[in-house]
């Protein structure tokens, strides 16, 4: 085991014309772990991954992947990297087995080794019965298993997964994550991008991206513990009315409705936020029960991202 991180970037930046897709990203991603990129669409997750694979040239900054500099040494990295693209990128008119056999040939596996490896993958990813089926006819979950099988065929040290579960049902998603833990157990490092909170929570560590910047990073538990906001939960019979009241209170950062409850993020500098909110609601003659809550990853996300805060804004816009 080397102490050197799997990926290290300094000021990694990518511009497309006037748009800055990735803006000075510093990362240190440890080996043998699952590292997550959490962020909304357009936050720069895919662009960062593509730069780390050597598919895009950074506009500025540097990146070292497995001790090699990208994009300069990208060709030497190829055999050590596995990449599962956001969009299914295997051949839909080839069968499952043909797709894997093609990749085996591309990665120069000997015929006998390739046969054995493909058999192992078909078993491991529950694709055995689907071997002779065309990839285009597979379901979302099956395709995703095939794509992961393809990405791991050459047993890469580092695996990039770009929103791997966006077209997959919850059961397949759980199975998928079990497979990822198995791979890490065997020594792989995995970088996965997602916009699902529950998925992000399964990562060993993660970076929250917003508009091309890393706005928070660390282990999920630590991020939740050290959230830069107080979280309160309010139970009330009139959540919509309560929400209008709360949004006017100074120090309230966001209000989100979860069924009959409201989840409120408040400036942590306030001495007694619960009392403050209670007073405001009492003045407005809104009956409510207030309690302090433990921060969820979604709270961290909302507190950390401008996009998240704005989403809360647009969500309440129809009210007024």
């Amino acid at each position: 085991m080397s102490a050197e991180p799997a990926i290290r970037t300094r000021g990694l930046t990518r511009r497309f014309g006037n748009v800055v897709a990735v803006d000075g990203v510093d990362l240190e991603i440890p080996r043998q772990a699952i590292y997550g990129f959490l962020g909304p669409n357009g936050s720069g997750k895919s662009t960062t991954i593509r730069m780390l694979c050597g598919l895009l040239t950074p506009s500025a900054g540097e990146a070292t992947v497995l001790g090699l500099e990208v994009p300069r040494d990208a060709e030497r990295l190829r055999r050590k990297l596995g990449y599962m693209t956001q969009r299914f990128s295997l051949y839909e008119d080839l069968t499952v087995r043909e797709n894997l056999a093609f990749l085996a040939e591309i990665y120069s596996l000997r015929a006998s080794a390739a046969r054995a490896r493909i058999q192992v993958l078909l078993d491991e990813f529950h694709l055995r019965e689907l071997g002779e089926q065309r990839a285009g006819t597979l379901s979302g979950g099956q395709r995703q298993r095939l794509a992961l099988a393809g990405a791991t065929l050459h047993e890469p040290e580092l695996l990039f997964l770009d929103e791997p579960t966006s077209a997959v049902d919850p059961q397949s998603r759980r199975d998928f994550w079990e497979t990822l833990y198995d791979l890490v157990e065997r020594g792989s490092t995995i970088l996965v991008s997602t916009h699902f909170m529950d998925e992000a929570e399964r990562c060993h560590a993660l970076a929250i991206l917003d508009r091309g910047r890393v706005v928070a990073s660390g282990a999920p538990e630590r991020l939740m513990r050290e959230i830069d906001a107080a979280v309160l939960e309010i139970e009330t019979g009139v959540p919509r009315a309560a929400r209008v009241v709360l949004e006017r209170v100074a120090g309230v950062r966001s209000v989100a409705q979860l069924g009959a409850r409201l989840r409120v993020l408040v400036d942590p500098a306030l001495a007694d936020p619960a009392a403050l909110l209670a007073a405001a609601l009492r003045d407005a003659r809104v009956d409510a029960r207030i309690s302090l809550a433990r921060a969820s990853l979604e709270d961290v996300f909302v507190a950390a991202t401008r996009t998240g805060a704005e989403r809360a804004q647009t969500a309440r816009a129809p009210l007024s």
Partner: protein, 371 residues
């Protein structure tokens, strides 16, 4: 050593994959055999430059036996069908103007005496000269010898002054000229199109994003992509030549082996042109458009449609750049005139130069990057 072996194996993997796509894509697969079949039949039968059965009107002011024989002989040549009779030259001209007829035969009242005296012209042909092909066909009619029955009875009379007999193709069979050239046209049409979409398709379907993160090198990808189509090009050419032989009796004067050597250079050049298009185009539709645009000058300037020598110099310079021009010289030379490889070596060299430049450009254009 192993590096070369791995490289060859990767090329083989890509070529095999490409063949699988082709086998499963009914439309493209159908084009491989369908286009040569359809085009050979179309050009061989329908698009025929021996014009026949032109609608004709007759004005016979002499009304003699020999004038009727003349009309009957003209009709027997199948170039014209007499569909209407006219009573005056004016009426004949009106029919021509109205487009009712393409040819008017005007026989003057003194036809008999003119004929006997052997004067310059016994009768007149009025032709709609708008279409040069029609004009050429009717010109053939002019050189029709005087009816034998007439000449035999008037042995003293020499044949009319139009003894031009400038028949270029004695039997006037277009297929002999067209089928060999058709090999080049069909190969250009199908092969450029196949490879033009080859890389764009992978880009559009997202396959390329995966492929370029693998150890595949750009030249391997390019060679693997075009290799199957070399075989397909040969198969198409063989099909066309066999069809030409069986259906239109087109003989091959030179050696078939030489022809296949020359065709190899041409196929490589056409495929690389497609490949180059594929690295420039962003979508399959764009690739299709570009392939089409590259197709038109090749058809028009290569000497397939119009005689090369008749074109102005700048058009000829441009034509020298096009692969089809050189291949037409090779294929017509070998098939029609029995030329040897030595005779066409200059053309083969030109094709190889085109191939090298286009391949180098394609390599330069294609990056294993997305930006």
């Amino acid at each position: 050593m192993t590096r070369w072996r791995d490289s060859l194996l990767r090329i083989a993997a890509i070529a095999r994959k490409e063949l699988r796509h082709l086998r499963r894509d009914r439309l493209t697969g159908g084009m491989v055999a369908g286009v040569p079949l359809m085009m050979t039949l179309l050009f061989g039968y329908a698009i025929n430059q021996d014009v026949r059965h032109l609608r004709a009107g007759v004005l016979d002011l002499s009304g003699t036996q020999s004038s009727r024989w003349l009309v009957a002989d003209a009709q027997a040549s199948q170039v014209i069908d007499v569909v209407v009779g006219a009573r005056s030259v004016r009426e004949l001209e009106e029919l021509l103007t109205a487009g009712e007829i393409s040819v008017g035969i005007a026989i003057p009242p003194d036809f008999e005496s003119r004929r006997v005296r052997g004067e310059r012209a016994s009768a007149q042909l009025l032709v709609d000269g708008g279409d040069p092909v029609v004009l050429a066909a009717v010109r053939g009619l002019v050189s029709l010898p005087l009816p034998k029955r007439v000449s035999s009875r008037h042995a003293a009379v020499s044949a009319p002054a139009f003894e031009l007999r400038a028949y270029y193709n004695p039997e006037r069979r277009s297929p002999v000229h067209i089928v060999p050239a058709l090999c080049g046209v069909i190969l250009t049409l199908t092969l450029v199109l196949f490879t033009a979409v080859a890389i764009v398709r992978e880009r559009e379907r997202g396959n390329l994003e995966l492929l370029i993160t693998t150890p595949v090198q750009t030249p391997e990808l390019m060679i693997g992509k075009i290799a199957p189509y070399v075989a397909i090009g040969y198969a198409q050419m063989t099909l066309i030549l066999v069809l030409g032989r069986v259906l239109f009796d087109v003989p091959i004067a030179g050696s078939v082996a030489s022809l296949y050597v020359g065709a190899g250079a041409f196929v490589a050049a056409a495929l690389t042109l497609g490949l180059l298009i594929s690295t420039v185009a962003q979508t399959q539709f764009q690739a299709f458009q570009m392939a089409f645009v590259s197709f038109l000058p090749q058809i028009l300037l290569s000497g397939f449609m119009f005689p090369f020598d008749g074109m102005p110099a700048p058009a000829r310079w441009l034509a020298e750049v096009l692969p089809l021009t050189h291949f037409l010289r090779i294929v017509r030379g070998i098939v029609l005139r029995g030329a040897t490889l030595q005779d066409v070596s200059g053309e083969i060299r030109a094709l190889l130069i085109f191939f090298s430049i286009a391949f180098a450009l394609a390599l330069l254009r294609f990056r294993k990057r997305l930006d």
